[in-house]
Symmetry: C2
């Protein structure tokens, strides 16, 4: 297959994704938070993330966050509006952690590893990250029609395209990246683990095998 | 990778899917329709399918079906309950046509072709079929959490597993089949065509390439 197809995104050096996407309207759209308020917000999110990890995001309440953070309930409401606002902020917080890891973190996920190793590490990291926070990701991905246009999806797609190119993959790079991305769908992962009884290790092995098949030149 | 993983579904000869799944409760759950009533229902569905193909399923009305079929509006309501009932029956009708084609139709889609050719034909057929009826399929697949457990998805998955095995693919067959299936997601196809401006020909070429990579033994 020829490489005359429009590349997505345009391949560039250095890494075109060396920077984080801003996903949360709450973090960017409002008036600029004073530094201590921003620190306060981050601290509340870290508390919320810990509670969600322990008891599941579905069981997270504004009150529990306030109690664990030792602040008044009104502070949590002022910061996030309502429970949905807290959930969106928490999802954004988790997604940024993952993005920081694959864009600028240590190898094998980050820039200081060969592209094929980064590809392998990427799938394993996404599978484990989304499964660990599956309440949040399943809720965020419930509407199938919006998934592919989502900024977080676009960033991952661009990252996969870049790594596939650097790894020397031949063919229609964007479609190969989409095939890889489809394998990481949290709805699929959840189905395979919860309904088909597969282990995350098995899914990770399958990812590594898929990367090998898509990268290796015949 | 070892083949000690539980196969899905159990490999059998003859083709374990030589038969259609009954998907529509309306067609199986109710009292058995008399033969002429069943013919009448099929005729209404064929009229509805033609109207949906011409003007889009989103614009289909019970009244338009009645007029085009030259029956009273009450007959259409009696047969399908309401507009949602008509849509579900129409989706089931379209899905059965596709199933009949890949389970027992002529080659290269049906049984009288080598497995790799059937794999290639399968993806092309699904992409074109779902895109042609995308109003219906997008509506039916809007809830991402239900997609993987859907009987129609399970049938396709089993079909892909069977063809991959017969084609001599090595590795974790069920996960390879899931990777293939993910590429055929109507939400992805719709995104790539409508938002990214790709042609169905390009998606079909990408499918053929993916099949080659997953089947060919290193």
């Amino acid at each position: 297959m020829k490489e005359s197809l429009p590349p997505f995104p345009a391949p560039q050096d250095p890494d075109p994704f060396d920077g984080l996407l801003n996903l949360a309207p709450a973090a960017t759209g409002g008036p600029r938070l004073r530094a201590d308020a921003a620190r306060n917000r981050t601290r509340l999110l870290e508390v919320a993330a810990r509670l969600a990890a322990e008891g599941g995001a579905a069981n997270l309440t504004m009150e529990a966050v306030a109690t664990a953070a030792e602040v008044g309930k009104g502070t949590v409401f002022r910061r996030f509006g309502d429970r949905l606002g807290l959930m969106l902020a928490l999802l954004d917080h988790q997604e940024r952690e993952l993005q920081a890891a694959f864009l600028s973190g240590p190898p094998p996920l980050g820039p200081d590893a060969p592209p094929v190793e980064r590809l392998r590490a990427f799938g394993a990291a996404v599978i484990r990250h989304e499964y660990a926070h599956r309440d949040l990701y399943l809720a965020a991905r419930a509407d199938a029609s919006r998934r592919h246009a989502h900024p977080a999806t676009q960033l991952r797609l661009g990252h996969l395209c870049m790594l596939l190119r650097r790894a020397g993959a031949q063919g229609d790079i964007e479609l190969l990246a989409q095939a890889l991305l489809g394998y990481l769908d949290i709805n699929l992962v959840d189905h395979l683990v919860e309904r088909r009884g597969m282990s995350l290790d098995r899914l990770e092995l399958g990812w590594g095998d898929l990367v090998t098949r898509l990268v290796v030149t015949a």
